[in-house]
Amino acid sequence: MAKIKYHMLVCGGTGCHASKSEEILKNFQDLIKAKGLETEVQVIKTGCFGFCEKGPIVKMMPDNTFYTQVKPEDCAEILEEHIIKGRKVERLLYKDPETGEYKSDSRHMGLYRKQIRIALRNCGFINPENIGEYIARDGYQALGKVLTELTPEATIEILKKSGLRGRGGGGFPTGLKWEITRAVKSDQKYVVCNADEGDPGAFMDRSVLEGDPHSVLEAMAINGYCTGADKGVIYIRAEYPQAVERLKIAMRQAREYGLLGNDILGTGFNFDIEIRYGAGAFVCGEETALIHSMEGLRGEPTVKPPFPSESGFLGKPTNVNNVETYANIPAIILKGAAWYSSIGTEKSKGTKVFALAGKINNVGLIEVPMGITLREIIFEIGGGIKNDRKFKAVQTGGPSGGMLTEKDLDTPIDYDNLIAAGSMMGSGGMIVMDEDDCMVAMAKFYLEFTVEESCGKCSPCRIGNKRLFEMLEKITQGHAVMEDLDKLRNLSNVIKDTSLCGLGQTSPNPVLSSMANFFHEYIEHVSDKKCRAGSCKALMQYIIIPENCIGCTLCARNCPVDAISGERKQAHLIDQDKCIKCGACMEKCKFNAIFIK
């Protein structure tokens, strides 16, 4: 039997499907059969290539030829030229928009440079439970380099020049933070890794810890060397058992290899790490609350200053950095500040990991250079909106962030632009919403989360957020009046201005940004008692259209609360007072006689 020599991958994503990829697939199959090539060429439908703009895509393997905008009538030519004669069909190749050059190999195309994996460089590549694989990929070489070739000052200088900023959300320059901690004199200092990832829909840090735990350990040791600390503590939530397990294995292996402990690499530098568990409180991602929790106290924030760099864990100078920040550091040390700062925008350098979630086709984890647009992330990498619905908004920055809409799709993403657009970078959660999502209900969802997670220490956050939530509840129930909208806005601003820590200062953001972008939806809820997305149940009514109803009684028999009445073969009626809006009647009706108002 002849062995398959060519694979033809035809994109079966929604975008390409819409431009006839199904027909292309069939044409290839027919042609291959006609020419008797079934034993040598195989055609296969794949998932989205993320290059929907130039679809339909056909990719030839093993030579990686990437054909774009293929039409069903091109199939014969591709088969004849590429497979039989071994020549590429130039006119269908991707043409570089800048140089005008044809790119035959997909690996040289701009699109595939849209994702650059630095923090995730080893995720999904190495076995995280085998230190050998990490070492084989330059692991611990950055630590070796700083210990033997660089002074702490020189190392900090590299980080400052690289432009790396805190990836936990605040965006504070990492090198500067290290320099401040270094400058404080103390007999004992600590290095802390903040692995308390709490935004709903965010899982970047967990994935780094599960996929490449050694990169974090190595960077913490480098941090210890630079700031003058010999102890590191990882604060991680107990809900991440897999990450904890992998961290423990990594720490054990690093100790066995002498890469943690005393006299690391024969340089006299001592550094060891321990793990502290959190109980999964959102506020403990705030560094002062995190430190209290590590000390065994209640996870409540305190006013800064003093900053942890001066007085942190057990009253000693403490440098807190986030998981993703750490994961970038070994690569920066080895490849240099100039390399890192060549990626990104003027004020935000390097890459950012985002967790794509919500109504998007390719839910997943991506790492992209700063300065990429939301459009590229959502429609090219993310494969567009699920079920061909219309894009409505995307929430960045989790419950502390805001909603970005159609008008922000082409804004280059960096720390400053997102703030200007009324949201924030946050830790990198990105929740995509479509036309079926009600913006008032979304704001309420986030508020419910902050009310739950508020530590209760300061009254604007404890009481204010609760009141905000109640007002939103009132709006979605259809009991609100127009004055409530003013109150909602005023209270939001008060909470923002007067709360003690970042949690309270940002918690009204989803309300404010949804009001700024979707005020008409608020008004509809209040004055018309209508939810255009159809998601606020209290504002919905299931109605039977008498003309369509034949009186089959199916709906009445399936109603769990006996809200439907009517004689056999007569039009039925739904009692709105009894109806619980479960939708069972509409599901059962075979005559499209029930609709939602």
Binding site: G47, G124, I135, T148, E210
Partner: protein, 132 residues
């Protein structure tokens, strides 16, 4: 385990270890073995990656196929978990999505043995820093 005493020792060690992952670094060396990587982060395990990994290990042993099965972290294709990346000597790595126990056997029958692809391939859309 002997401790690593210096940067020079670490670099020496890297040289010997590098050979083991060379397969993934440069898949053009035809002399090496088939490598199967199963994404085993929380998301993968929750959707059954452990069972899938067992199928690969057992089937390879049963059919006497010379292959290495390892676990790895999240590949980022959370919508298509469990995901498995297979690198055959001389071929580009291919990532399969939605791999359940049944599909794992199908992949062995079709792709590993006959070089025939199966549905659910995920086009790789990123590059790591090494390729720059």
């Amino acid at each position: 385990m002997e401790k690593i005493k210096s940067l020079a020792d670490l670099k020496k060690m890297q040289e010997t270890l590098r050979a083991k992952i060379d397969l993934r670094e440069q898949s053009n060396d035809p002399g090496t073995r088939i490598h199967v990587k199963v994404a085993m982060a929380t998301c993968g395990i929750a959707s059954g990656a452990k069972e899938v990994m067992e199928v690969f290990i057992e089937e390879f042993a049963k059919r006497n196929i010379d292959a290495v099965v390892t676990q790895t972290g999240c590949m980022g294709y959370c919508y298509a978990e469990p995901t498995v990346e297979i690198t055959k000597p001389g071929y580009e790595p291919i990532t399969f999505g939605y791999v359940d126990v049944k599909k794992a056997s199908k992949i062995i029958d079709k792709y590993v043995l006959n070089n025939e692809l199966v549905d659910g391939i995920i086009p790789v859309n990123y590059e790591t820093i090494d390729n720059n």
